[in-house]
């Protein structure tokens, strides 16, 4: 299953990458791959903007506007006049 792909805010700056491979490890959708000992965007459209890669990139080679893709949270934010707020605990079984 794939979601809307052209709205993704993920940006990768290859010049800063030192090839530690952390982004490849933490991404749950295999957005990054390794190419010539450096990270490379393998599937940018699959990005769900969880922010794990940017958070774990010591070289700050990744930028993404991280958030939770939850309509209920966006709606709650709209009504409160604020940023989306995730009030529920979510229940995805894959949340381990």
């Amino acid at each position: 299953m794939r979601y809307l792909e052209d709205a993704v805010t993920l940006e990768f700056i290859p010049e800063r990458c030192d090839g530690c491979g952390m982004c490849v490890k933490v991404c749950p959708h295999a957005v990054f791959g390794m190419e010539n000992k450096r990270a490379a965007l393998a599937d940018r459209g699959a990005c769900m903007e969880c922010g794990a890669c940017a958070k774990n990139c010591e070289r700050e080679a990744i930028r993404v506007k991280a958030g939770v893709g939850c309509a209920t949270a966006v709606l709650a934010g709209l009504m409160a006049g604020k940023e989306p707020s995730c009030g529920c605990s979510g229940e995805s079984s894959t949340c381990g």
């Binding site: 299953m1 792909e5 991280a66 605990s89 381990g96």
Partner: protein
């Protein structure tokens, strides 16, 4: 059950009383250089399973927690692996259930009783909390190595290099699913690409249905009730006959639309057309309303009111679209900017369709 000495019995009791948590899953204590650490059972019992079922049905879900801190599984020593978890009991249970026959430490973070991935998104499962727990538990005296195994889905809240800089422990990201943890540990902490992917299989989606039902039910029932009562309105005044016919049928369609969105939406998700969840939901609603129309014509030999037929053609897809759109939050692959984009077009359409449909429906009451 291993035997528990009197001191441990007392500690266990004070532990459970102080934390006001019934903790039958603790079966003893392990002595460490940083004090006694409660040992957990690695087999889930009936109460644990019942607890999971209740949480799935949103019964006490927000208070289904484990006291944060260090725990032992098996008989761990200074060389044993340290596994980090959230204090949502379902997350914790899933972790300990894959550890039979293993000696490991479990460091439970305080995530307000929220699972790993969601709390990582909020940052409560995060760098600060890991550093605090490592220091508070005296972990550096409990183990001789300096490695923490953190679930991969904790990564949105954790900065591995920050954790190492601030408390000296290196973060190794474990697999997405706890069930892959034994294979990960046995291979010297190597995760296959498959173990790093998050899925959204049929069973992953199906277990979410109860919470979807419980959370949406009150709105659906209120809406159905409104239609039921308004069904008695007509040009000639209020009639109970109207409630019994138009009202009852309308309430049934509303509830049917909610059920379709909350049950069939998650199940049929990959096969519903479009990528936007609102589009998938609208498609589901159109199929539903076509079915209702066909059944009506077949059973009654025609459509009773064309205004009401038009009303449901607009209201049903609007409702199912809205319900399925709200499933984005439970899914494992939607992005915030994508959700914002789809809501920008879907929300006005849903509101407009519902309003126009409701207009037709009211018109139908007076035309009858």
């Amino acid at each position: 059950m291993p035997s528990i000495d009197a001191y441990s019995q007392r500690t266990l009791r004070s532990f459970t009383v102080r934390r006001r948590v019934d903790a039958p899953w603790i079966d003893g204590f392990v002595v460490t250089a940083s004090g006694k650490v409660p040992r957990v059972q690695t087999a889930l019992d009936f109460r644990d399973c019942l607890g999971s079922v209740k949480a799935r049905w949103d019964i006490g879900r927000m208070n289904y927690r484990v006291p944060p801190g260090l725990y032992a599984a098996g008989n761990p020593g200074i060389g044993s692996t340290v596994l980090v978890s959230a204090n949502y009991k379902m997350s914790f249970d899933r972790l300990r259930s894959v550890l039979p026959g293993r000696d490991a430490w479990i460091l439970v973070l305080d995530t307000d009783g929220v699972n790993v991935w969601c709390s990582a998104g909020k940052g409560t499962f995060g760098t600060d909390e890991i550093v605090r727990r490592v220091q508070e538990s005296g972990l550096e005296r409990v183990v001789s190595h300096r490695t923490l195994v953190v679930p991969q889905l904790g990564a949105p809240g954790v900065s591995a290099h920050e954790v190492q800089r601030r408390c000296g422990f290196r973060v190794e990201y474990g697999p997405v699913q706890a069930e892959d943890l034994p294979a990960f540990l046995d291979s010297g902490m190597k995760a296959s690409p498959d173990m790093r992917r998050v899925r959204f299989r049929l069973r992953d989606r199906a277990v979410l249905i109860p919470v979807e039902l419980v959370m949406g039910a009150k709105y659906a029932v209120l809406l159905a009730l409104a239609f039921l009562l308004l069904g008695g309105v007509s040009g000639g005044g209020y009639s109970l006959a109207g409630v019994r016919t138009i009202g009852l049928k309308s309430a049934a369609v509303v509830l049917g639309a909610f059920l379709a969105g909350a049950v069939l939406g998650p199940i049929l998700l990959p096969w519903l057309p479009g990528r936007a969840f609102s589009a998938k939901g609208a498609a589901l609603g159109l199929v539903l309303v076509a079915g209702i129309g066909a059944w009506d014509i077949f059973r009654n030999g025609g459509v009773a009111s064309w205004l009401h037929a038009a009303a449901w053609m607009a209201i049903t897809p609007a409702l199912t679209s809205f319900v399925v759109m709200n499933f984005t939050g439970a899914s494992t692959f939607t992005s915030l900017s994508g959700v914002r984009r789809e809501m920008r077009f879907a929300l006005p359409l849903q509101v407009a369709a519902a309003a126009i449909g409701f207009g037709f429906w009211l018109g139908g009451l007076f035309a009858a």
